[in-house]
Symmetry: C2
Subunit: 215 residues, 2 copies
């Protein structure tokens, strides 16, 4: 255990980015909609400088798309986009799971377990999506690989967006099924069985992906 963590300031652009990101996840900005700098700067009561930096940050998360002198629009994921997310996520998770099984500490695994347990207290699909993402965050954190984590963060928000759209076609037993899946994932990681864990993670992704292609 470290006695203290870093106490760095965050800056306005970071907070602005957080605000906008939440607004998008809440549906206050729909996919394809324009994010005007002037509008945002007035609403958040900051100048356009930090807003521009925030939009750049969101662009590198793939949440918005910007073009020269045309401003930013909320990303609208096509079927091909979702397929790309699925395959890239697969490549990253293989590495992540391998490292977790190989070298994760008991404290790391406990943290992952905690995020899985938090799903029991989620009663809305939106809450569940947050927990799902938090779970994978914990897995990548346990992998102890800063660049891998960075690569995950570059698609994290897009996966979040995708999972939210999936909520629209979710069935009744959906919440409980997700909870069970994650319990299995944790168990596999605890056991240290690489192949088994990889298989379960692959199935987990497949379930998420299939719902969209079939629905």
């Amino acid at each position: 255990m470290t006695k203290m963590g870093p106490a760095r300031r965050r800056g306005l652009s970071t907070e602005v980015a957080d605000e906008i990101r939440e607004a998008i996840f809440d549906g206050r900005y729909a996919p394809g909609e324009a994010l005007r700098e002037t509008e945002l700067s007035e609403a958040l009561e900051v100048s356009r400088g930090p807003v521009r930096e925030a939009l750049q940050k969101l662009e590198r998360e793939g949440l918005v798309h910007t073009e020269w002198h045309r401003g930013a629009t909320v990303t609208a994921l096509s079927l091909q986009d979702v397929a790309e997310l699925d395959s890239l996520r697969g490549a990253l998770e293989v590495l992540a799971v391998r490292r977790v099984v190989d070298q994760a500490t008991d404290a790391d695994l406990s943290l992952i377990e905690k995020t899985a347990a938090a799903m029991d207290r989620a009663d809305t699909p939106h809450e569940m999506v947050r927990c799902d993402i938090a779970f994978h965050d914990a897995v990548y954190a346990a992998a102890n690989h800063s660049r891998l984590q960075q690569a995950w963060e570059a698609i994290r928000s897009q996966v979040h967006l995708f999972l939210i759209t999936r909520v629209g076609v979710s069935t009744d037993g959906y919440l409980e099924q997700i909870r069970e899946e994650h319990r299995d994932l944790v168990a596999a990681l605890r056991l240290g069985n690489v192949d088994g864990a990889l298989k379960l993670f692959a199935e987990h992704r497949r379930h998420a992906f299939d719902v969209l292609t079939k629905g």
Copy 2:
């Protein structure tokens, strides 16, 4: 063949980023050195706005590291950093090679071949590094996967940096050896043998990595 490509403007920040990137690769800024906004804006004769955006862009490439109110410094790669680059690159290349073998067009393969052939005209190690990077660029481009390409771009400059440092410990037959390796890689992709190609790419990475750990 497309008759015309997009004709988009680039903006100052993009050009500033290019300038700084080249300066770093040329060694005009050493790893660990500070990149002052005021200094850059005066040297490039632009205001600090575009410089800030450029530095943000370079940060997402991992070429510089910035902290709150402390400015940007050129990334200094530790041994662990290089190990991270190696493993992440491996995960990405597996996906890339699979897709290239599966679905690359003949035109794509020709482009890859061209970059490998360009190595014959490279006589300095620095030139060779450029060609090496260009080769892998072509592979990722042929994979036809925008997010995979983006993930590669997030570590591309760091790999470039790493390969440049390797130049310092290169032996005599180094240039010709690299050329031969890439000829083999192209041949494997042409043949469409996934496992063979994957193995060769893994060896290629291993060669680069070993030189540093042993040297």
